[in-house]
Symmetry: C2
Subunit: 264 residues, 2 copies
Protein backbone atom coordinates (compact mmCIF):
# COMPACT_ATOMS: atom_id res chain seq x y z
CA UNK A 1 0.00 0.00 0.00
CA UNK A 2 1.45 3.37 -0.98
CA UNK A 3 0.17 6.51 0.69
CA UNK A 4 0.86 9.86 -0.93
CA UNK A 5 1.26 12.39 1.86
CA UNK A 6 1.63 16.10 2.49
CA UNK A 7 4.55 18.28 3.39
CA UNK A 8 5.23 17.37 7.00
CA UNK A 9 5.80 14.19 8.88
CA UNK A 10 6.13 12.93 12.39
CA UNK A 11 9.51 13.14 14.00
CA UNK A 12 10.22 9.50 14.70
CA UNK A 13 12.88 9.16 17.38
CA UNK A 14 10.80 9.49 20.51
CA UNK A 15 11.57 8.77 24.09
CA UNK A 16 9.53 5.95 25.52
CA UNK A 17 8.58 3.99 28.58
CA UNK A 18 6.74 0.82 29.51
CA UNK A 19 4.66 -0.26 32.48
CA UNK A 20 3.59 -3.79 33.30
CA UNK A 21 -0.02 -4.36 34.31
CA UNK A 22 -0.75 -7.25 36.64
CA UNK A 23 -4.22 -7.95 37.96
CA UNK A 24 -5.17 -4.54 36.59
CA UNK A 25 -2.49 -2.71 38.57
CA UNK A 26 0.64 -0.92 37.36
CA UNK A 27 3.94 -2.32 38.67
CA UNK A 28 6.79 -0.03 39.84
CA UNK A 29 4.80 2.94 38.56
CA UNK A 30 7.01 5.70 40.02
CA UNK A 31 10.26 4.03 38.92
CA UNK A 32 9.10 4.11 35.31
CA UNK A 33 8.07 7.78 35.54
CA UNK A 34 11.52 8.56 36.89
CA UNK A 35 13.23 6.75 34.03
CA UNK A 36 10.95 8.43 31.49
CA UNK A 37 11.83 11.84 32.87
CA UNK A 38 15.52 10.98 32.77
CA UNK A 39 15.30 9.73 29.16
CA UNK A 40 13.55 12.92 28.08
CA UNK A 41 16.13 15.05 29.88
CA UNK A 42 19.02 13.22 28.23
CA UNK A 43 17.62 13.82 24.74
CA UNK A 44 16.70 17.38 25.69
CA UNK A 45 12.95 17.04 25.43
CA UNK A 46 10.65 18.82 27.79
CA UNK A 47 8.11 16.59 29.44
CA UNK A 48 4.81 17.86 28.02
CA UNK A 49 2.69 16.40 30.82
CA UNK A 50 2.66 15.99 34.58
CA UNK A 51 2.92 12.60 36.28
CA UNK A 52 -0.65 13.14 37.43
CA UNK A 53 -1.96 13.65 33.89
CA UNK A 54 0.06 10.71 32.61
CA UNK A 55 -1.16 8.48 35.40
CA UNK A 56 -4.73 9.32 34.47
CA UNK A 57 -4.16 8.70 30.74
CA UNK A 58 -2.34 5.44 31.38
CA UNK A 59 -5.13 4.12 33.60
CA UNK A 60 -7.73 5.19 31.08
CA UNK A 61 -5.85 3.38 28.29
CA UNK A 62 -5.63 0.23 30.40
CA UNK A 63 -9.34 0.44 31.25
CA UNK A 64 -10.61 1.08 27.74
CA UNK A 65 -8.51 -1.75 26.32
CA UNK A 66 -9.69 -4.03 29.15
CA UNK A 67 -6.12 -5.03 30.05
CA UNK A 68 -5.82 -7.11 33.19
CA UNK A 69 -2.36 -8.60 32.57
CA UNK A 70 -0.36 -6.77 29.99
CA UNK A 71 1.76 -3.80 29.08
CA UNK A 72 1.31 -0.09 28.59
CA UNK A 73 3.66 1.66 26.17
CA UNK A 74 4.18 5.36 26.09
CA UNK A 75 6.00 7.36 23.44
CA UNK A 76 6.64 11.07 23.41
CA UNK A 77 7.79 12.69 20.18
CA UNK A 78 8.87 16.24 19.55
CA UNK A 79 5.79 16.55 17.39
CA UNK A 80 4.95 16.98 13.74
CA UNK A 81 7.24 19.16 11.63
CA UNK A 82 8.87 19.32 8.20
CA UNK A 83 11.64 16.75 8.15
CA UNK A 84 14.96 18.08 9.44
CA UNK A 85 17.64 16.77 11.79
CA UNK A 86 17.79 19.72 14.16
CA UNK A 87 15.01 20.06 16.74
CA UNK A 88 11.78 21.45 15.26
CA UNK A 89 11.43 24.97 16.68
CA UNK A 90 7.64 25.23 16.90
CA UNK A 91 6.37 21.66 17.11
CA UNK A 92 4.11 20.59 19.95
CA UNK A 93 5.17 17.35 21.59
CA UNK A 94 2.75 14.48 21.18
CA UNK A 95 2.25 11.66 23.62
CA UNK A 96 0.96 8.32 22.39
CA UNK A 97 -0.07 5.59 24.81
CA UNK A 98 -0.98 2.05 23.79
CA UNK A 99 -1.88 -0.95 25.92
CA UNK A 100 -2.10 -4.63 25.18
CA UNK A 101 -2.80 -7.83 27.05
CA UNK A 102 -0.15 -10.50 27.34
CA UNK A 103 -0.72 -14.24 27.35
CA UNK A 104 -0.52 -14.72 31.13
CA UNK A 105 -0.45 -18.52 30.85
CA UNK A 106 2.51 -18.48 28.46
CA UNK A 107 4.30 -16.01 30.73
CA UNK A 108 3.69 -18.25 33.75
CA UNK A 109 5.09 -21.23 31.86
CA UNK A 110 8.23 -19.27 30.95
CA UNK A 111 8.64 -18.20 34.58
CA UNK A 112 8.39 -21.83 35.65
CA UNK A 113 10.21 -23.72 32.91
CA UNK A 114 12.74 -21.08 31.91
CA UNK A 115 13.87 -19.95 28.49
CA UNK A 116 16.85 -20.39 26.21
CA UNK A 117 19.08 -17.49 25.17
CA UNK A 118 21.66 -16.98 22.48
CA UNK A 119 24.50 -14.44 22.49
CA UNK A 120 24.92 -11.71 19.90
CA UNK A 121 27.51 -8.93 19.40
CA UNK A 122 26.39 -5.62 20.89
CA UNK A 123 26.26 -3.28 17.91
CA UNK A 124 24.01 -0.66 19.52
CA UNK A 125 24.75 3.01 20.04
CA UNK A 126 26.62 4.31 23.09
CA UNK A 127 23.53 5.64 24.91
CA UNK A 128 21.52 2.51 25.68
CA UNK A 129 20.72 4.11 29.05
CA UNK A 130 18.13 6.21 27.19
CA UNK A 131 14.89 4.38 26.43
CA UNK A 132 13.88 5.27 22.86
CA UNK A 133 12.20 3.60 19.91
CA UNK A 134 15.52 3.29 18.05
CA UNK A 135 15.58 -0.47 18.60
CA UNK A 136 16.59 -1.94 15.27
CA UNK A 137 19.66 -3.74 16.69
CA UNK A 138 17.45 -5.19 19.44
CA UNK A 139 14.85 -6.26 16.89
CA UNK A 140 17.41 -8.03 14.71
CA UNK A 141 18.94 -9.81 17.73
CA UNK A 142 15.55 -10.87 19.09
CA UNK A 143 14.51 -12.22 15.70
CA UNK A 144 17.77 -14.23 15.47
CA UNK A 145 17.01 -15.65 18.90
CA UNK A 146 13.53 -16.71 17.88
CA UNK A 147 14.85 -18.37 14.73
CA UNK A 148 17.40 -20.25 16.85
CA UNK A 149 14.59 -21.57 19.06
CA UNK A 150 15.51 -19.19 21.88
CA UNK A 151 13.49 -16.53 23.69
CA UNK A 152 16.11 -13.84 24.14
CA UNK A 153 19.48 -12.68 22.83
CA UNK A 154 22.17 -11.52 25.24
CA UNK A 155 24.46 -8.85 23.82
CA UNK A 156 28.20 -9.05 24.47
CA UNK A 157 30.68 -6.19 24.12
CA UNK A 158 34.16 -6.14 22.58
CA UNK A 159 35.66 -7.63 25.76
CA UNK A 160 33.24 -10.58 25.40
CA UNK A 161 31.32 -9.46 28.47
CA UNK A 162 27.54 -9.65 28.54
CA UNK A 163 25.86 -6.25 28.59
CA UNK A 164 22.14 -7.09 28.64
CA UNK A 165 19.39 -8.80 26.67
CA UNK A 166 17.59 -7.35 23.66
CA UNK A 167 14.63 -6.42 25.89
CA UNK A 168 15.71 -7.65 29.35
CA UNK A 169 18.57 -7.34 31.82
CA UNK A 170 20.90 -10.34 32.23
CA UNK A 171 21.76 -12.05 35.53
CA UNK A 172 23.80 -15.01 36.67
CA UNK A 173 24.35 -16.79 40.01
CA UNK A 174 27.95 -17.88 40.58
CA UNK A 175 29.01 -21.19 42.10
CA UNK A 176 29.52 -19.24 45.35
CA UNK A 177 25.85 -18.20 45.22
CA UNK A 178 26.56 -14.56 44.34
CA UNK A 179 24.04 -12.76 42.13
CA UNK A 180 25.78 -10.88 39.31
CA UNK A 181 24.31 -8.38 36.87
CA UNK A 182 26.06 -5.75 34.76
CA UNK A 183 26.70 -2.39 36.44
CA UNK A 184 24.87 0.69 35.18
CA UNK A 185 28.16 2.41 34.30
CA UNK A 186 28.12 0.06 31.33
CA UNK A 187 26.10 0.81 28.22
CA UNK A 188 22.82 -0.75 29.36
CA UNK A 189 19.27 0.31 30.08
CA UNK A 190 18.75 0.92 33.77
CA UNK A 191 16.04 -1.66 34.20
CA UNK A 192 13.40 -0.67 36.74
CA UNK A 193 12.72 -4.34 37.47
CA UNK A 194 16.48 -4.93 37.65
CA UNK A 195 16.76 -2.23 40.34
CA UNK A 196 13.79 -3.69 42.23
CA UNK A 197 15.38 -7.15 42.19
CA UNK A 198 18.71 -5.78 43.44
CA UNK A 199 16.84 -4.25 46.41
CA UNK A 200 14.84 -7.41 47.05
CA UNK A 201 17.91 -9.65 46.88
CA UNK A 202 19.82 -7.43 49.30
CA UNK A 203 16.84 -7.34 51.66
CA UNK A 204 16.91 -11.15 51.60
CA UNK A 205 20.61 -11.09 52.59
CA UNK A 206 21.74 -12.36 49.17
CA UNK A 207 25.12 -11.15 47.90
CA UNK A 208 24.74 -8.99 44.79
CA UNK A 209 27.61 -7.83 42.57
CA UNK A 210 26.98 -5.30 39.83
CA UNK A 211 29.91 -5.89 37.48
CA UNK A 212 30.95 -7.21 34.08
CA UNK A 213 30.75 -10.97 33.51
CA UNK A 214 31.95 -12.84 30.46
CA UNK A 215 30.08 -15.22 28.17
CA UNK A 216 32.23 -18.03 29.59
CA UNK A 217 31.40 -17.11 33.18
CA UNK A 218 27.72 -17.05 32.26
CA UNK A 219 27.88 -20.53 30.72
CA UNK A 220 29.46 -21.91 33.89
CA UNK A 221 26.95 -20.19 36.19
CA UNK A 222 24.87 -22.15 38.68
CA UNK A 223 21.77 -20.24 37.60
CA UNK A 224 20.97 -17.53 35.09
CA UNK A 225 17.92 -15.41 34.50
CA UNK A 226 16.52 -12.36 32.76
CA UNK A 227 14.51 -9.51 34.21
CA UNK A 228 12.03 -7.11 32.63
CA UNK A 229 8.92 -5.15 33.47
CA UNK A 230 6.83 -7.50 31.38
CA UNK A 231 8.14 -10.79 32.77
CA UNK A 232 9.70 -10.10 36.18
CA UNK A 233 12.50 -12.66 36.71
CA UNK A 234 12.54 -15.54 34.21
CA UNK A 235 15.03 -18.42 34.48
CA UNK A 236 17.54 -19.02 31.68
CA UNK A 237 18.12 -22.75 31.22
CA UNK A 238 20.55 -22.65 28.30
CA UNK A 239 22.96 -20.14 26.75
CA UNK A 240 24.03 -20.83 23.14
CA UNK A 241 22.84 -24.41 23.66
CA UNK A 242 24.93 -24.91 26.82
CA UNK A 243 22.77 -26.10 29.72
CA UNK A 244 22.92 -23.79 32.76
CA UNK A 245 23.03 -25.50 36.17
CA UNK A 246 20.47 -28.28 36.36
CA UNK A 247 18.73 -27.05 33.19
CA UNK A 248 15.71 -26.20 35.32
CA UNK A 249 14.56 -23.22 37.36
CA UNK A 250 17.02 -22.82 40.22
CA UNK A 251 16.30 -22.07 43.89
CA UNK A 252 17.60 -18.49 43.88
CA UNK A 253 15.53 -17.25 40.95
CA UNK A 254 12.52 -19.03 42.47
CA UNK A 255 12.92 -17.10 45.73
CA UNK A 256 13.34 -13.84 43.82
CA UNK A 257 10.20 -14.49 41.75
CA UNK A 258 8.16 -15.11 44.90
CA UNK A 259 9.53 -12.03 46.64
CA UNK A 260 8.96 -9.85 43.55
CA UNK A 261 5.37 -11.03 43.17
CA UNK A 262 4.51 -10.57 46.83
CA UNK A 263 6.06 -7.09 46.73
CA UNK A 264 3.91 -6.20 43.70
CA UNK B 1 -2.25 16.27 23.65
CA UNK B 2 -2.79 12.72 24.81
CA UNK B 3 -4.31 10.15 22.45
CA UNK B 4 -5.77 6.98 23.89
CA UNK B 5 -5.20 4.26 21.32
CA UNK B 6 -6.10 0.67 20.57
CA UNK B 7 -4.20 -2.56 20.81
CA UNK B 8 -1.72 -2.34 17.98
CA UNK B 9 0.81 0.16 16.84
CA UNK B 10 3.13 0.84 13.98
CA UNK B 11 6.48 -0.80 14.02
CA UNK B 12 8.81 2.16 14.03
CA UNK B 13 12.26 1.15 12.86
CA UNK B 14 11.84 1.38 9.11
CA UNK B 15 14.34 1.43 6.34
CA UNK B 16 14.41 4.70 4.43
CA UNK B 17 15.74 6.58 1.48
CA UNK B 18 15.88 10.11 0.13
CA UNK B 19 15.94 11.62 -3.34
CA UNK B 20 16.80 15.20 -4.19
CA UNK B 21 14.53 17.02 -6.63
CA UNK B 22 16.08 19.72 -8.77
CA UNK B 23 14.12 21.58 -11.41
CA UNK B 24 11.43 18.96 -10.91
CA UNK B 25 13.77 16.04 -11.70
CA UNK B 26 15.07 13.31 -9.39
CA UNK B 27 18.88 13.19 -8.99
CA UNK B 28 20.79 9.89 -9.00
CA UNK B 29 17.47 8.06 -9.02
CA UNK B 30 18.84 4.55 -9.62
CA UNK B 31 21.63 4.90 -7.03
CA UNK B 32 19.07 5.64 -4.33
CA UNK B 33 16.91 2.65 -5.35
CA UNK B 34 20.00 0.46 -5.11
CA UNK B 35 20.82 1.73 -1.62
CA UNK B 36 17.21 1.32 -0.51
CA UNK B 37 17.20 -2.29 -1.69
CA UNK B 38 20.49 -2.92 0.10
CA UNK B 39 19.21 -1.36 3.36
CA UNK B 40 16.07 -3.50 3.25
CA UNK B 41 18.13 -6.62 2.57
CA UNK B 42 20.46 -5.91 5.48
CA UNK B 43 17.55 -5.58 7.93
CA UNK B 44 15.83 -8.58 6.36
CA UNK B 45 12.82 -6.78 4.97
CA UNK B 46 11.31 -7.76 1.68
CA UNK B 47 10.83 -4.89 -0.71
CA UNK B 48 7.04 -4.64 -0.99
CA UNK B 49 7.15 -2.72 -4.27
CA UNK B 50 8.93 -2.70 -7.59
CA UNK B 51 11.19 0.15 -8.69
CA UNK B 52 8.61 0.93 -11.34
CA UNK B 53 5.79 1.29 -8.80
CA UNK B 54 8.01 3.33 -6.50
CA UNK B 55 9.12 5.59 -9.33
CA UNK B 56 5.47 6.28 -10.13
CA UNK B 57 4.53 6.99 -6.49
CA UNK B 58 7.56 9.22 -5.95
CA UNK B 59 6.80 11.29 -9.05
CA UNK B 60 3.15 11.57 -8.05
CA UNK B 61 4.16 12.76 -4.55
CA UNK B 62 6.48 15.37 -6.04
CA UNK B 63 3.79 16.52 -8.46
CA UNK B 64 0.94 16.77 -5.94
CA UNK B 65 3.12 18.68 -3.47
CA UNK B 66 4.30 20.96 -6.31
CA UNK B 67 7.97 20.40 -5.44
CA UNK B 68 10.40 21.88 -7.94
CA UNK B 69 13.50 21.98 -5.72
CA UNK B 70 13.30 19.77 -2.69
CA UNK B 71 13.47 16.31 -1.25
CA UNK B 72 11.43 13.13 -1.35
CA UNK B 73 11.61 10.85 1.67
CA UNK B 74 10.54 7.26 1.63
CA UNK B 75 10.08 4.97 4.61
CA UNK B 76 9.15 1.32 4.55
CA UNK B 77 8.03 -0.30 7.80
CA UNK B 78 7.25 -3.93 8.49
CA UNK B 79 3.67 -2.82 9.04
CA UNK B 80 1.21 -2.54 11.90
CA UNK B 81 1.30 -5.22 14.58
CA UNK B 82 1.03 -5.68 18.35
CA UNK B 83 4.27 -4.39 19.83
CA UNK B 84 7.00 -7.00 20.03
CA UNK B 85 10.71 -7.06 19.24
CA UNK B 86 10.73 -10.05 16.90
CA UNK B 87 9.48 -9.54 13.34
CA UNK B 88 5.67 -9.43 13.12
CA UNK B 89 4.66 -12.65 11.37
CA UNK B 90 1.58 -11.45 9.48
CA UNK B 91 2.04 -7.69 9.08
CA UNK B 92 1.87 -6.11 5.63
CA UNK B 93 4.71 -3.70 4.94
CA UNK B 94 3.69 -0.10 4.51
CA UNK B 95 5.44 2.46 2.38
CA UNK B 96 5.15 6.13 3.25
CA UNK B 97 6.44 8.81 0.90
CA UNK B 98 6.64 12.51 1.74
CA UNK B 99 8.01 15.40 -0.29
CA UNK B 100 8.93 18.94 0.62
CA UNK B 101 10.43 21.96 -1.05
CA UNK B 102 13.74 23.36 0.10
CA UNK B 103 14.73 27.00 0.19
CA UNK B 104 16.72 27.00 -3.06
CA UNK B 105 18.13 30.49 -2.43
CA UNK B 106 19.48 29.54 1.01
CA UNK B 107 20.97 26.35 -0.46
CA UNK B 108 22.65 28.35 -3.23
CA UNK B 109 24.11 30.73 -0.63
CA UNK B 110 25.51 27.79 1.37
CA UNK B 111 27.02 26.33 -1.80
CA UNK B 112 28.69 29.65 -2.52
CA UNK B 113 29.70 30.94 0.91
CA UNK B 114 30.28 27.66 2.66
CA UNK B 115 29.26 26.49 6.12
CA UNK B 116 30.85 25.95 9.51
CA UNK B 117 31.07 22.53 11.14
CA UNK B 118 31.79 21.32 14.65
CA UNK B 119 33.11 17.89 15.64
CA UNK B 120 31.26 15.46 17.87
CA UNK B 121 32.05 11.95 19.20
CA UNK B 122 30.50 9.22 17.07
CA UNK B 123 28.18 7.39 19.46
CA UNK B 124 26.06 5.73 16.77
CA UNK B 125 25.46 2.02 16.28
CA UNK B 126 27.80 -0.20 14.28
CA UNK B 127 25.58 -0.37 11.17
CA UNK B 128 25.52 3.19 9.88
CA UNK B 129 25.75 1.72 6.38
CA UNK B 130 22.00 0.98 6.69
CA UNK B 131 19.74 3.98 6.12
CA UNK B 132 17.02 3.89 8.78
CA UNK B 133 15.00 6.34 10.84
CA UNK B 134 17.00 5.52 14.00
CA UNK B 135 18.73 8.89 13.87
CA UNK B 136 18.66 10.17 17.44
CA UNK B 137 22.46 10.50 17.69
CA UNK B 138 22.45 12.42 14.39
CA UNK B 139 19.63 14.65 15.63
CA UNK B 140 21.44 15.49 18.87
CA UNK B 141 24.70 16.24 17.03
CA UNK B 142 22.95 18.39 14.41
CA UNK B 143 21.15 20.35 17.10
CA UNK B 144 24.47 20.95 18.93
CA UNK B 145 25.91 22.24 15.67
CA UNK B 146 23.04 24.66 15.14
CA UNK B 147 23.38 25.95 18.70
CA UNK B 148 27.10 26.50 18.11
CA UNK B 149 26.31 28.58 15.02
CA UNK B 150 27.39 25.77 12.68
CA UNK B 151 25.51 23.95 9.94
CA UNK B 152 26.80 20.43 10.43
CA UNK B 153 28.51 18.17 12.97
CA UNK B 154 31.29 15.84 11.88
CA UNK B 155 31.49 12.64 13.90
CA UNK B 156 34.88 11.31 14.99
CA UNK B 157 35.62 7.77 16.10
CA UNK B 158 37.75 6.51 19.01
CA UNK B 159 40.94 7.00 16.98
CA UNK B 160 39.96 10.69 16.51
CA UNK B 161 39.32 10.10 12.83
CA UNK B 162 36.36 11.73 11.12
CA UNK B 163 33.70 9.26 10.00
CA UNK B 164 31.05 11.48 8.40
CA UNK B 165 28.64 14.29 9.12
CA UNK B 166 25.29 13.95 10.88
CA UNK B 167 23.51 14.03 7.51
CA UNK B 168 26.37 14.41 5.01
CA UNK B 169 29.66 12.79 4.04
CA UNK B 170 32.88 14.59 4.98
CA UNK B 171 35.69 15.52 2.56
CA UNK B 172 39.01 17.34 2.71
CA UNK B 173 41.59 18.43 0.15
CA UNK B 174 45.19 17.98 1.31
CA UNK B 175 47.99 20.47 0.72
CA UNK B 176 49.09 18.20 -2.14
CA UNK B 177 45.65 18.66 -3.73
CA UNK B 178 44.42 15.13 -2.98
CA UNK B 179 40.72 14.65 -2.27
CA UNK B 180 40.18 12.53 0.84
CA UNK B 181 36.94 11.04 2.13
CA UNK B 182 36.41 8.15 4.54
CA UNK B 183 36.36 4.67 3.01
CA UNK B 184 33.13 2.68 3.05
CA UNK B 185 34.75 -0.09 5.11
CA UNK B 186 34.31 2.37 7.98
CA UNK B 187 31.00 2.74 9.79
CA UNK B 188 29.45 5.34 7.47
CA UNK B 189 26.49 5.66 5.17
CA UNK B 190 27.45 4.95 1.59
CA UNK B 191 26.45 8.32 0.25
CA UNK B 192 25.05 8.20 -3.26
CA UNK B 193 26.25 11.77 -3.88
CA UNK B 194 29.62 10.83 -2.33
CA UNK B 195 29.96 7.99 -4.87
CA UNK B 196 28.95 10.31 -7.72
CA UNK B 197 31.57 12.87 -6.65
CA UNK B 198 34.29 10.19 -6.46
CA UNK B 199 33.48 9.25 -10.05
CA UNK B 200 33.36 12.85 -11.22
CA UNK B 201 36.65 13.72 -9.51
CA UNK B 202 38.40 10.73 -11.03
CA UNK B 203 36.98 11.57 -14.46
CA UNK B 204 38.48 15.05 -14.00
CA UNK B 205 41.90 13.47 -13.27
CA UNK B 206 41.80 14.52 -9.61
CA UNK B 207 43.51 12.22 -7.11
CA UNK B 208 41.02 10.69 -4.69
CA UNK B 209 41.91 8.72 -1.56
CA UNK B 210 39.21 6.90 0.38
CA UNK B 211 40.78 6.52 3.82
CA UNK B 212 40.62 7.65 7.44
CA UNK B 213 41.67 11.24 8.20
CA UNK B 214 42.02 12.79 11.63
CA UNK B 215 40.42 15.89 13.10
CA UNK B 216 43.88 17.51 13.02
CA UNK B 217 44.44 16.65 9.36
CA UNK B 218 41.02 18.10 8.57
CA UNK B 219 41.81 21.38 10.34
CA UNK B 220 45.02 21.73 8.33
CA UNK B 221 43.35 20.91 5.02
CA UNK B 222 43.53 23.27 2.06
CA UNK B 223 39.79 22.84 1.48
CA UNK B 224 36.99 20.90 3.12
CA UNK B 225 33.42 20.19 2.10
CA UNK B 226 30.36 18.08 2.76
CA UNK B 227 28.26 16.12 0.30
CA UNK B 228 24.63 15.03 0.41
CA UNK B 229 21.71 14.37 -1.89
CA UNK B 230 20.01 17.52 -0.72
CA UNK B 231 22.96 19.90 -1.08
CA UNK B 232 25.45 18.35 -3.49
CA UNK B 233 28.95 19.56 -2.53
CA UNK B 234 28.99 22.41 0.01
CA UNK B 235 32.26 24.08 1.14
CA UNK B 236 33.28 23.91 4.80
CA UNK B 237 34.97 27.17 5.81
CA UNK B 238 35.63 26.39 9.49
CA UNK B 239 35.92 23.29 11.70
CA UNK B 240 35.48 23.86 15.44
CA UNK B 241 36.12 27.54 14.80
CA UNK B 242 39.41 26.90 12.93
CA UNK B 243 39.38 28.55 9.51
CA UNK B 244 39.96 26.09 6.65
CA UNK B 245 42.22 27.29 3.82
CA UNK B 246 41.28 30.81 2.76
CA UNK B 247 38.01 30.67 4.73
CA UNK B 248 36.17 30.86 1.40
CA UNK B 249 34.99 28.39 -1.20
CA UNK B 250 38.09 26.77 -2.71
CA UNK B 251 38.83 26.03 -6.37
CA UNK B 252 38.49 22.25 -6.13
CA UNK B 253 35.04 22.17 -4.54
CA UNK B 254 33.97 24.84 -7.06
CA UNK B 255 34.98 22.60 -9.96
CA UNK B 256 33.21 19.64 -8.38
CA UNK B 257 30.02 21.64 -7.87
CA UNK B 258 29.98 22.70 -11.50
CA UNK B 259 30.67 19.18 -12.74
CA UNK B 260 28.01 17.70 -10.44
CA UNK B 261 25.38 20.20 -11.57
CA UNK B 262 26.13 19.77 -15.25
CA UNK B 263 25.97 15.97 -14.81
CA UNK B 264 22.57 16.26 -13.11
Amino acid sequence: MIQVQGLSRRFVVPGGEVWAVRDGRLLDEQGHYERLERSLHEIRMENPTTRRALAHAIRETVRRNRVRDGLVYLQITRGVAPRDHAFPPHARASTVITARSIDAKAAALRAQNGVRVITSPDIRWARCDIKTTGLLANVLAKQSAREAGAYEAWFYDEAQNITEGASTNAWIVTSAGVLVTRDTQANILRGVTRAALVQIAKAMQMRVEQRAFSIDEAKQAREAFISSASGGAVPVVAIDGVTIGSGKRGPIVTRLQQAYLSRA
